[in-house]
């Protein structure tokens, strides 16, 4: 089965049809996707700003762990609605350069977070109260930059859909 065939199958599933053809079927996932972005993006940005020292309190571990639930809820909403929106027009999305760039950026974001959590964050109790070390500030700056790029790529999807 080729990628194209999988995409063709996805968009003809009941869920794919519902989102493509429904009035609310399309609007509700779109609105929820943006709300999820505000929740997830907002919590991540606050974490990043704390790493950069632009926010001073509470200490990073406390802030970050308190926001974990917010991030998970946002992430869940983004993933479910994102998959539904992809399914609705899969054959056009998978050839859309902006969409592919967005997915690539999301992978980079995950890698950046993983490097941070498995690296400099392990010593977080040593820099909790003072300024973050260079590695932590770098992780925060990279994350902020990538998120702005993700939003740019997301907005561009609608402008770069191939005609089918």
């Amino acid at each position: 089965m080729s990628v194209l065939e999988i995409c063709q199958w996805l968009q003809e599933t009941p869920a794919g049809r519902m989102v493509r053809e429904g009035y609310w079927g399309y609007g509700v996932p779109q609105i929820a996707h943006l709300a999820g972005m505000a929740l997830f993006g907002g919590a991540v940005v606050v974490d990043d700003l704390r790493l950069l020292g632009a926010i001073r309190r509470p200490e990073f571990r406390e802030l970050s762990s308190q926001l974990v639930v917010v991030k998970w809820i946002g992430f869940l909403v983004l993933t479910v609605t994102g998959i539904l929106l992809f399914m609705s027009d899969a054959t056009r999305f998978y050839k859309n350069p902006s969409f592919l760039i967005k997915i690539g950026l999301l992978i980079l974001i995950a890698l950046n977070a993983w490097f941070f959590r498995s690296g400099v964050y392990r010593d977080a109790d040593r820099w909790a109260d003072g300024a973050s070390p260079a590695g932590a500030r770098m992780a925060g700056a990279v994350s902020l930059f990538l998120w702005v790029c993700v939003i740019a790529a997301s907005r561009a999807i609608g402008f770069t859909l191939p005609d089918v």
């Binding site: 609007g27 709300a35 907002g42 919590a43 940005v45 509470p58 917010v70």
Partner: protein
């Protein structure tokens, strides 16, 4: 000046021409609008979660609010700079759009509610989950949901 001629003037203003100067301007302004919304609504929601007594309860409300306030302000400046630029590209369409009206109504209510209630509640006590704190956080979250729903709805319905 009637509202029709005002809209007409906006549509032909230098600002509207600048927005049409390149195919890149509109998506770039839209992206900046979205980044500002995430910053504004995301940080405001975190303060609301604190008011509800759900998250970051180890920190006094006033302290958390003042830590996040500069970034909420950056978000506000961002949406106020980019929103009108998007509006002038097609004022007639926006004014007549139900979701645009919903968004603006909720935004206006958010501002009024914040000035009349939110500000005072945040500055007052530091105890988690006081009834008035929960009320202020809940109303604020509801209104932000209205702003987001309306905002996304403009281009869809």
């Amino acid at each position: 000046m009637t509202s029709d001629s005002l809209l007409n003037w906006l549509e032909t203003s230098p600002l509207a021409h600048a927005m049409a100067a390149s195919v890149w301007v509109y998506p770039i302004v839209e992206t900046l609008h979205m980044v500002s919304i995430v910053l504004l609504v995301g940080t405001a929601a975190i303060v609301d979660f604190r008011l509800l007594g759900w998250r970051l309860t180890s920190m006094p409300v006033a302290e958390l609010a003042s830590e996040l306030a500069p970034w909420i302000r950056v978000g506000i400046v961002g949406v106020l700079l980019t929103g009108p630029l998007l509006f002038v590209t097609d004022p007639d369409r926006y004014v007549g759009n139900f979701y645009f009206r919903l968004k603006m109504t909720c935004l206006l209510l958010t501002i009024v509610f914040d000035l009349l209630v939110g500000r005072r509640v945040r500055a007052a006590g530091s105890n988690a989950g006081l009834p008035e704190q929960r009320f202020a956080g809940g109303v604020s979250l509801l209104l932000w949901t209205g702003v987001v729903t309306g905002g996304r709805g403009i281009g869809i319905f």
